[in-house]
Symmetry: C3
Subunit: 139 residues, 3 copies
């Protein structure tokens, strides 16, 4: 049993940009040489989240529309009054989607569905260089 | 320390069917003979999610009603235009609830509350045979 | 590799009270003497959830407002008709936010962002003494 921790950087466009990070997860899994265990994908930051989706442009836009209904851009946020960076909705969205997801792997393969990808959703109101932590615990 | 990975199959009715999978989780935990660690319940697929709830019919219907408000069946989804399987809302709901949950166990018992069950919510628009991965990492 | 399981008790005010539990997580991480691994924060109970947020009063109020839109207090809940404790909305909110979050740590430090705190959100309709499980798997 061992723990391997990887840091990967990606460029996002913000505003609920949805980015397929499955290739990064597969790359670090291969590099770890682990066969069986948990891969925890985690974004250190309070304006992004991680989930899975069928990564095709229709479903991605549908998710973005649902997020807009859940925490609309054009309503009042107390955070904005205090901090002035105008991304109160980003914080709320990220807290609801949550910063991490633990995905099992076996025989060196992530146990995802055929049409299921791990995605980062960047809720900030501007492009960001995002650090993603991939931590693997396994054997 | 060891990793054990189990696959369990269940039949669902789709349309936000909520199924108590705690007995399956307890069964694989007993079979693993592990005492302490993490049980990660994960559904490989992009139209289902896993969470916990007090599994009684009132709370289950309340959750289903909230999900219907969050991503209603009867609005437009871009996914449907491209793929024609009419389950765009299923994808959005699953991405928001997320595919997995990590539950701690100790002395061979899941550390759930008395009125807290692990549930699969199948968001697809038809009955499904669902595979659930239970992966245990512990000692 | 080892598993350490800690129980911490906190007092909440209920009604979507948001409590920063990062200091508790850091305390148990130090006590475990583990360097690298996963800390799983989990609340055993069906009316509370765990996520991360920038813990400042504006963002906290914004999150509470979004939760109120998601599962309003003043609509009908079937759970209430059956059980009479009037916290149907608490159950729905908790099921949507989910009971746990796995956070990676390395070199004895949680890999959180600078402005990112781990929080318990207590959705119950009254003050509670809440047990939180912190389980660490690592080396």
């Amino acid at each position: 049993m061992a723990v391997h921790t990887y840091r990967e950087q990606i460029r996002t466009r913000g505003e609920a940009d949805v980015i397929d990070i499955t290739p990064l997860a597969q790359k670090v899994l291969a590099r770890s040489r682990l066969s069986n265990g948990i891969l925890n994908a985690f974004v250190p930051g309070s304006t992004a989240g991680i989930t899975t989706i069928e990564f095709e442009s229709g479903a991605v836009r549908d998710l973005q529309a649902a997020i807009e209904r859940l925490a609309p851009r054009n309503i009042h946020y107390d955070h904005d009054r205090r901090w002035g960076d105008g991304n109160g909705y980003s914080h709320v969205r990220a807290a609801l989607l949550k910063a991490g997801l633990a995905v099992p792997f076996q025989d060196g393969q992530l146990l995802l569905g055929t049409w299921q990808q791990i995605v980062l959703v960047d809720f900030d109101n501007r492009p960001r260089d995002r650090l993603i932590i991939f931590q693997l615990v396994g054997e």
